[in-house]
């Protein structure tokens, strides 16, 4: 009898205990309400309609609330609601890491945090386990869903340029991908950032990435960028050609201004990184057996736990010109200067543009091309698509952006040019122009009578400079454009 009671007692106890573990999580979670107003990259003086989005915030202590960066990109107003009250508290951005898709919010009213419990993100994740996905619902009650972590892979998060590890999640229930926490027995293994409803798959940022983000106190992203691209070497012919007798990966591209630029060369073969030997696919054996084999990018981008942090140097054993040698690769920040056509994120900034005599100029970017809707890849000009796919990065020593004439606001002064649209600007008065700033400088500081703007299709636009202010004024009035330039 006593045994039976004890059995029942322990059964009930574990049941209650399990629940209370989740309840603890409830006191760390918040509902985040964001009003977003994204810029219009095609008509850059226009801001798009406000959109209200909801997502999950996690209290991580020190008056800091963790959210996904893509939730609050272009936010004009952020509010947070905790479990114990349905009053929304205004919140503001404190820190953001675009490459990790993570951000910290805080709230002015310090009393707000009094009944919140700081959540702890685990240093290690379990890769093959059932989990519970948690968030607060509309009534600030804990809402859960069942899922399973099926593995870990490498890819760029939304907004990111650096590939980082993500958790593969399988779930039959509908998830949001707005920052819900991934938990098991009260332990937090990550937050969900993407959900593909037609495939029952989701992706999560692993907890150790969150921790690296939280611990990082300097400027920029917590995560370095390897600075090169590589390809596996699996066939014998390639191995013979390079004199490769072991296993390794071939360096196929080096990004200018990166840590790799001065250290590696094209066609180097990387054999070892740090204390790890690479296999033919470029994977190394993670010291934590649970993680199995991971990609080289895991080590170089998120290897802090293994001892390779941003700012460090990692020894690479390479094969170059048929000889083995060692180089030291500095783990530096992503070289934004190397980007010719922006993609991923724009640091939350509005597009650079200027309207001169009715000619709208802006920077060529993936964001601009995406304004053509869901099928933008089949709708945009073939040349611009090609440049985006193959010429995103500069050649060494080059920098700047590509300027595009988006459209012409018609006026008598620009008669004859009204049909021009999405044409690349080649030069102004014979000089190549790499930024809106430079374009405006040439135009407004010119002592000539005319500015000759040559497009890449070889049509030349002439602007009579003494009339420019008048024309600008006229156009600004007629088309209701409050600001003719992003710089003024």
């Amino acid at each position: 009898m006593i045994r039976l009671c004890l059995g029942i007692f322990f059964f009930l106890y574990s049941f209650v205990f399990a629940n209370s573990k989740s309840d603890t999580l409830q006191s760390s979670l918040l509902e985040v309400k964001v009003t977003t107003q994204a810029p219009n990259f095609q008509f850059p003086w226009i801001i798009k309609k406000p959109i209200l989005q909801e997502g999950v915030g996690v209290y991580v202590g020190k008056e800091q609330i963790l959210v996904l960066a893509n939730l609050i990109e272009y936010a004009t107003s952020i509010e947070v609601i905790k479990y114990s009250s349905n009053i929304s508290e205004p919140a503001k951005l404190q820190k953001i890491d675009f490459e990790a898709n993570l951000a910290i919010l805080t709230v002015n009213n310090k009393k707000f945090f009094q009944d919140l419990k700081p959540a702890k993100f685990e240093d290690k994740v379990k890769l093959d386990t059932e989990v519970t996905i948690c968030q607060l619902d509309q009534t600030q009650t804990l809402q859960t869903a069942k899922a399973r972590i099926s593995g870990m892979d490498m890819d760029q998060y939304p907004l990111s340029h650096i590939e980082l590890p993500y958790l593969n999640i399988v779930s039959n229930e509908k998830l949001e991908g707005k920052g819900e926490i991934i938990s098991l027995d009260g332990k937090i293994f990550g937050i969900v950032y993407k959900f593909l409803s037609n495939k029952n798959l989701a992706r999560g940022i692993p907890s150790f990435i969150v921790n690296q983000f939280l611990e990082y106190e300097q400027k920029g992203s917590a995560f370095p960028f390897m600075g090169f691209q590589y390809r596996p070497v699996i066939d014998q012919a390639t191995k013979d050609y390079y004199g490769l007798k072991k296993e390794g990966v071939l360096v196929t591209e080096i990004i200018p201004y990166s840590g790799a630029e001065k250290v590696l060369q094209l066609e180097d073969i990387i054999l070892e990184a740090g204390e790890f030997t690479l296999d033919a696919l470029g994977r190394f054996q993670h010291p934590d057996l649970e993680y199995g084999k991971q990609a080289l990018s895991f080590l170089l981008h998120s290897g802090k736990e293994i001892g390779y942090t941003k700012g460090d140097k990692i020894k690479l054993k390479i094969l170059r010109n048929q000889k083995e040698m060692t180089v030291n690769l500095p783990l530096k920040a992503f070289p934004y200067k190397a980007i010719a056509i922006p993609y991923g994120h724009n640091f939350g900034k509005n597009p650079e543009y200027t309207i001169l005599g009715g000619f709208i100029f802006t920077e060529l970017s993936e964001f601009l091309l995406k304004e053509w809707g869901t099928n933008w890849r089949s709708r945009v000009d073939k040349k611009l698509l090609y440049l985006l796919d193959y010429k995103k990065f500069h050649e060494p020593k080059q920098s700047g952006k590509i300027l595009v004439l988006v459209q012409v606001l018609p006026d008598d002064s620009n008669n004859g040019y009204h049909n021009l649209s999405m044409e690349i600007l080649k030069s102004v008065n014979g000089k190549t122009v790499k930024s809106i700033k430079e374009l405006e400088k040439i135009i407004f500081q010119s002592k000539e009578d005319f500015a000759a703007l040559e497009l890449e299709n070889e049509i030349t636009i002439a602007i009579e400079l003494k009339n420019l202010s008048q024309i600008n004024e006229r156009i600004s009035q007629k088309f209701n454009i409050p600001k003719l330039s992003s710089r003024r």
Binding site: R231, A237, Y241, L266, E267, K382, Y390, G416, A462
Partner: protein, 492 residues
Amino acid sequence: MIKFITTLIFFVLPIALFSTETSEFETIRKGVVQIKVFSQGYDVYSPWQTTKIVASTGTGFLITPEYILTNAHVVSNSKFIQVQRYNQTNWYEVDVLFVAHDCDLAILKAKQPEFYKDSHVFELGGIPELNSPISVVGYPIGGNKISVTRGIVSRKEQSTYGHSQVDSHLVIQVDAAINPGNSGGPAIQNGKVVGVAFQVASRGENIGYLIPTTVVRYFLEDIKDGVYDGYVELGIRTINSFNVSFRKLQKIPDELDGVFVTKVFRGGSAEGYLKKNDLLLEIDGMPIARNGTVAYDPETRIDFVEIIDNKHSGEEIYFKVYREGKILSIKFPAKKMKEFDFMRNKYDTPFDYFILAGLVFQSVSRDLLQEWLKNNETQGGSQFFYRFAYFIEDDLSKGEKDEDIIFYRKLNHPINQSSEYYLNLILESINDIPVRNMSHLKKIIQKLDNKFIKLKFKDVKVPLIFNREEVAEAEKEIIKNYKLPIQPTKVK
């Protein structure tokens, strides 16, 4: 008496008129030809294979006692053609004498002279007036007998001919019902041919298109020497001269009209004669307006390039040009730009290809692009789509290559397992030798004797490597596994 005569007039006259019309049609139908074609296209994706054989019909008409005129698209890729006229009981085999893919016309000739017994040869008329009535005669689908439809001329405009998808010439739009099978048939006005039916509006409304007699005459003139040379290209891009600021910048006197040259294409007629920023004032003595039009006749203005369209290869083009403060007279011969051939749909010729270690190479062509799209390919694409569209525009050949060659398909074999990465990219060089065209590629392969074959592709800095001897061995297996014909050019 008067009453009798009046009645006679009222009765007889209409009957007389009616029988003139019927007898006119009786004559016309003797010149209209029903065409039956068995064609076999070439498979662009698997160019070593033949494709299915398709039966189709069309219409033609006698333009001389021996020549049957029809559309090129009726007889493209034909393997066997027969024709028949009104009241004939036999089908007569024909030969294709001339084909013009750049204006969708062809000439057939019956092998047996008895086909031509009791026939009618059509006379070519001019370009019909807008709103004037025409009849289209032919053998459309839905029956085996000759049929007539009527309509009026609704529009006359320069437009793209669907057969090649790249050439544009004058097109006459009518509201007569034109259906598949009508293609190649005559549009008649006052007993003369004023057009050749060739296209239907894509949405199947009552809109049909005719090739005007100016294009037919151009074709007939061209073939007089026994060879069809083809349409010429001026080879420039222009822009209007409306903009006041640009005129001031170029110091153009107010009284001058015309259009500015913005680009001169390599290989075009104007290369070496016209320059960027030239202001074209006159063509063949006709003043060019600021919007690029000339007064073709007192009622019609047409784009000045249409004047060039009517010129034969070798014929002079006369321009009056304003350049750097001077008015110059510049003349040069019109020529065909072979550079545009790759942009036309190909017919009657097999696709040239080469398979290396299971990698299939072919010249970039419109046919390949269209097939690629149909296959829903996802990898790559933006490189060769851009290069196809801009090859001439952006002078991508730089005078160093004749065509782009693409690795568009992989016949799987262990030897090519690393090549997936390079799929759908343009081949730049083999063992550092830049590849000019398909026959050059084959020559390079034939002469290879290094240990390694290094393939360099556009926009990828690192080459694809093969072991030459391994390739020679592997190719034997690949040929066997995929049932390929043996290529004359081989890796040793």
